[in-house]
Every structure is written in structure tokens, then in C-alpha cells.
């Protein structure tokens, strides 16, 4: 069988259920692949792992991938299992945030490490400075969890629909206590969890063929996971070697993730891509990318895989 190494963007959780299901159900094996799934973590930059040759293919958000491409690391999107963005800003009502106009003068928790790009584009679209002060917002580098919100250190924190939001709820705040701003609803959604490889490796037909089989099996895994969320969550739990995930949380996460993958058959939607690029280009004085990227995606793999 051919070896493929996949680097995830984050720790083992239902966000990556499709890949674990494909492996567990033998979809990869059917395609003659031997896939190693490497979990990520707070200090793992999938882009860097890809550059270092530690993985053949990585799960990454498009803003980070495009930024890396501009830095000279030629990453190419070969598939896009996530159709919509799960990112949102979750705010406390008692902090006085009802609409985007209320952001000014507040403290907002933001993820960095390559995940800050969507937020920065959004703020520049709203024309709000991120340097603090009366008319700007004070940005906190949000750690791994939602503590700043619970402890009133921030008015809003970044959350994913499928993960951190539920941690807020679990902690005892109710949806009525909260106002959420989904990036999708604000028209600033950028593409998340796509599959990326290095451009020059695609010239090798053997590698291309491997990726075709990989994407085909992965998408099969995703569709299976969407249809059998509880079983998928169980598979994820089995693969979590830290033993820290709970069944309840993973099942709920699988349910939410299924909503995001629902609209995608794996092929990148050009319109979504354009929207993402425009959003990143419009980043005011310090845009995430400065020029229209070229060759940052390809349909060849999905075309072969899905037909």
C-alpha cells in the first residue's frame, strides 16, 4: 500500500471525523493507502510541517494557506470538505454587546497562530482599529479556552459553532446570556478546513494519483460521518489517545460539524474562494495578502476523485 501522512490542524476531535472514519472503516485500505493521521496542537503549524516534509497533505484554513503561499510556500488546495465557516464571536449580553457597533472600546478575545486573519479582515471591513482605545477594540491573545469570557476579562471571545461555544454553555452560561456573531452571517466568512499539498509534488503523476485516492476515500469518510454522527463520534473517541475528550461533547461536535460539511462534495466552490480572497485582500492598511494569488487551488484531484 502507498503511505500517506495527514497533518491535522488541531487535536483529535470530531472536527476531523471524516478522516478517522475513513481509516477506521477501511476506506483508505480499499484505495490501497496506508494513512498516518498526526493530530495537531496549539504550537503545530500545519504549513510548517508541510514545508518540513513531515506530512504529504495537511488540513488548514485558507487564510493561513494563502498567507503562507505569499511567503513563498507554494501550497495548493486540492479539496474543500468544509463548505461553510464555523467561526463566530460569542459575547456576553451583560457586557453590553448587542451589535457590531458595540465592539468599540471593548476587549475581544482572538486566536492567533494563523487563525487571526479572518478576524482582522472583519475588523478592517467594519473600520474598527485593533489598537485599543475609545474607537478601537482591545485584542487579547486568547489562550486555549473560553476563560476570558467566563471571568469577564473580555466582552467577547472567538468560538467555533462546534466546539468552544458549547464549552461556554457547559460552564453554565445560557444561550440567553449570550449574543453570537457568526462570520457567515457577517459576510466575512473564509474557508476553513481544506486539504493542501505542495504545488511541485503534484507534478508527479504517482503522487497525484495517491491524492486522488486519498480525497476519494476521505470524502467517503465524511459522508459516512454525516450520516452516522454517533458512530463517527465514537470512532474519534477511540482515536483520542489523550483520553481527555468526552462522549457527550464529541457527539454534539459531530452534529455541528455535519452542518458545515453538508454543502460540500469535496470540490472547492470557486465563489467561496473568490469571497475568501477578496475578504483577505481588503484588510485595510495591513492586509493578510497583498495580491491576488495564482494557482492556489486545483480541481484536478477532485475531478478525478469524484467522477
Amino acid at each position: 500500500a502507498d503511505d500517506v501522512t495527514l497533518q491535522l490542524k488541531w487535536v483529535t476531535q470530531a472536527q476531523f471525523a471524516g478522516y478517522y472514519v475513513a481509516q477506521d472503516k477501511g476506506f483508505y485500505e480499499e484505495e490501497g493507502l496506508d494513512v498516518t493521521i498526526k493530530p495537531g496542537g496549539p504550537d503545530i503549524a500545519p504549513t510548517q510541517v508541510l514545508a518540513g516534509g513531515g506530512a504529504d497533505v495537511v488540513v488548514e484554513w485558507m487564510p493561513a494557506a494563502l498567507a503562507a503561499r505569499e511567503k513563498g510556500l507554494a501550497m495548493v488546495n486540492i479539496a474543500q470538505p468544509f463548505k461553510s465557516s464555523g467561526m463566530m464571536l460569542t459575547c456576553r449580553k451583560d457586557a453590553g454587546v448587542e451589535s457590531t457597533d458595540d465592539f468599540k472600546g471593548k476587549t475581544l478575545g482572538v486566536w492567533f497562530f494563523g487563525n487571526e486573519f479572518p478576524f482582522l479582515s472583519w475588523m478592517s471591513k467594519l473600520d474598527i482599529s485593533t489598537e485599543g482605545g475609545e474607537d478601537g477594540v482591545t485584542v487579547l491573545k486568547q489562550g486555549f479556552n473560553v476563560d476570558p469570557l467566563l471571568q469577564n476579562q473580555a466582552a467577547c471571545v472567538s468560538t467555533m459553532t462546534y466546539n468552544e461555544y458549547w464549552q461556554v454553555i457547559d460552564a453554565g452560561l445560557t444561550p440567553e446570556d449570550l449574543n453570537v456573531f457568526k462570520y457567515e452571517d457577517q459576510g466575512v466568512a473564509t474557508l476553513e478546513d481544506g486539504l493542501y499539498v505542495l504545488e511541485d509534488r503534484l507534478e508527479d503523476p504517482e503522487f497525484e494519483d495517491k491524492m486522488v485516492r486519498f480525497v476519494r476515500a476521505s470524502m467517503k469518510g465524511w459522508k459516512y460521518a454525516e450520516e452516522n454522527p454517533d458512530e463517527a463520534a465514537d470512532i474519534v473517541l477511540e482515536n483520542d489517545s489523550s483520553g481527555a475528550q468526552t462522549e457527550e461533547h464529541q457527539k454534539r461536535m459531530m452534529g455541528e460539524v455535519a452542518k458545515l460539511t453538508a454543502g460540500s462534495n469535496g470540490a472547492l466552490d470557486e465563489a467561496d474562494y473568490e469571497r475568501t480572497v477578496q475578504s483577505l485582500l481588503s484588510g485595510g492598511s495591513d492586509p493578510v495578502i497583498t495580491q491576488e494569488p495564482e494557482g492556489a487551488w486545483t480541481h484536478t484531484i477532485t475531478d478525478k476523485a469524484l467522477n
Binding site: G41, G52, G53, T174, S242
Partner: protein, 288 residues
């Protein structure tokens, strides 16, 4: 030894009291927060009770940590991923490997520094400077680079352990290998002993007390290294992963139990080095 039992118990008792009090103090805001949102009124009794039983407290009460430890150490099968014993073992294996590598590297460097003037003059300042580099910053890079050349699993973590643990060994062993006084070295000269002979018969035995002291420090540093190494390896397994996962999900009880487990591990390993030290030095007649 026995004389310290009462004072230690007293101090522990005081710590425990302080801990409970701090739990009330730190967790009270959240209790009030919940109460105001639900419109309830908190009396003193229910406040204290609430602060000691929260799910994700700012500071878990000792009994909460105790219960978690009991559940994850004793009640879980030790091969289960939810057993702290399993995770301790993962961390311990990286720690021990890193410790062995670090000790080896440290001793080699020390021997080089003591026997070679060029090394003595040029390397030592850089050894010190190397320790001012924030390891957590380069740990992910080390792991990525090692991954790129196909090394993964135990070794990358052990390398970070090694990086932290070789330093005390170099410093201690340089001191130790230089501890024979001029007279003892002159003695060797009058007997026309070779360099190797004075190393094996004089410098090495003379350095033993320093060696063990540095081993203890190195062991503690090595554990810290293994834990740091576990943070960016994707939080796969080990006490570091438990810390991280706990932190990621705001599970403070889990963080604290992992922390305490780590301290127990460190104390046990440092303690066993102390034991070996006592036995060895006694047999060498240096216990005086």
C-alpha cells in the same frame, strides 16, 4: 527524620486549610455570577458549598482533585487512555530517555571542557546562553524538523528533555572534575600517572558528590522538558497532553491532578537518585 513528621504534618495541614479558603475566595465570583443571572440569593453556607463543588472552578478544592486522582489512578485500568498511570508512563519514558541523553551529553561536554583548553574557553559561555533561549519557542520547531527527517514519537520529546537537562550536568561535572586540589594532582604527577589514569582514579571519583547533585536537578529539568515536548506534539498522550487538554477544555480539576501527578513523579525520581547517591557514596566511603 522522625523529628520532621509533626512539622511536616502541621505545614501540610495549614496548606490544606489555606487551599480550601483560597478556593472559596477564587471561586466565589463565579458563584455570585451564576446566582445573579438566575436571580437567586446566596447565603454563606451555600456559597461555600458551591465554591467547593464547581465543575470548572478557578481553583478546585483539594477533595475534588483527590477524587479525580482516585478515579484516574486507581479506578482505571492502567492501559486505558483515561488512566493517569498510563499518561505518567508516557511522560516518564520520555523523561528517562531524555535524562540519559542529557546526562551523557553533559558528562561528555564536561570532560571536554576540563581536558581541553580550547573547549573550556569557547564553549562554556554558549552553554549558558543556550539556556536563555525559551525552549517552548523552539520546541515545535525541533519537533517539526525531527519529524521532517523521519524521527517521531519518543525521541523528539526526549531531545527537549535532553536540552534542559544537560546544562546542570555540565555545570556540576565541570565543578566536580575540577574539585581535586592542586596537591592531589601533583601527587599523580609524582607517580607519573597518565591523563587517563588521573581521570579514572582521581577526577571521576572526586566528582561523584557533584555528579549526584546535578543528576537530581537534571532529572527535574528533564521532566519539565518532556512535558513541554508533549504540548506541541499534538497533545497525543502524557501528562503534558493532559495539562493541555485540561486547559483547552477549562478542566481545572484535570489540570491539577496532572500537576500533582507530575510532582509525585519528580519527587519519586529525585528521591530514588538520592537513594542511589546515599548507597554509592557510602560504599565509596564518602558519606561522611
Amino acid at each position: 527524620m522522625r523529628r520532621s513528621v509533626v512539622p511536616v504534618l502541621a505545614v501540610l495541614g495549614f496548606l490544606l486549610l489555606f487551599w480550601y479558603a483560597a478556593a472559596v475566595w477564587l471561586n466565589a465570583p463565579w458563584a455570585y455570577d451564576k446566582a445573579t443571572r438566575s436571580g437567586a440569593v446566596l447565603d454563606a453556607r451555600s456559597l461555600v458549598l458551591d465554591t467547593w463543588t464547581q465543575d470548572k472552578p478557578k481553583l478546585p478544592a483539594p477533595h475534588q482533585v483527590g477524587a479525580e486522582l482516585w478515579a484516574t489512578v486507581v479506578q482505571k485500568n492502567i492501559t486505558s487512555k483515561r488512566s493517569l498511570v498510563y499518561h505518567s508512563w508516557v511522560t516518564l519514558s520520555a523523561t528517562l530517555l531524555g535524562f540519559a541523553l542529557g546526562t551523557g551529553l553533559g558528562v561528555l561536554l564536561a570532560v571536554g571542557i576540563v581536558f581541553n583548553r580550547t573547549m573550556d574557553m569557547s564553549v562554556m559561555p554558549w552553554v549558558i546562553a543556550s539556556q536563555t533561549i525559551p525552549i517552548l519557542a523552539i520546541a515545535p520547531m525541533i519537533i517539526v524538523v525531527l519529524n521532517a527527517v523521519g524521527i517521531s514519537g519518543l525521541l523528539p520529546k526526549a531531545m527537549i528533555s535532553m536540552y534542559l537537562s544537560f546544562f546542570p550536568v555540565v555545570v556540576g561535572m565541570v565543578k566536580g572534575l575540577r574539585s581535586p586540589d592542586a596537591m592531589q594532582l601533583d601527587q599523580m604527577r609524582t607517580w607519573h600517572a597518565s591523563k587517563a589514569q588521573s581521570f579514572w582514579k582521581l577526577r571521576l571519583p572526586a566528582s561523584m558528590p557533584y555528579f549526584f547533585t546535578s543528576l537530581k536537578i537534571a532529572m527535574a529539568a528533564s521532566l519539565v522538558g518532556a512535558i513541554i515536548g508533549e504540548l506541541p506534539t499534538g497533545a497525543v498522550a502524557g501528562l503534558g497532553a493532559r495539562l493541555l487538554a485540561g486547559s483547552y477544555y477549562g478542566q481545572t480539576i484535570q489540570i491539577w491532578s496532572a500537576l500533582i501527578m507530575a510532582a509525585v513523579l519528580a519527587a519519586a525520581m529525585v528521591g530514588s537518585i538520592g537513594l542511589i547517591q546515599r548507597v554509592t557514596l557510602k560504599r565509596m566511603g564518602m558519606a561522611g
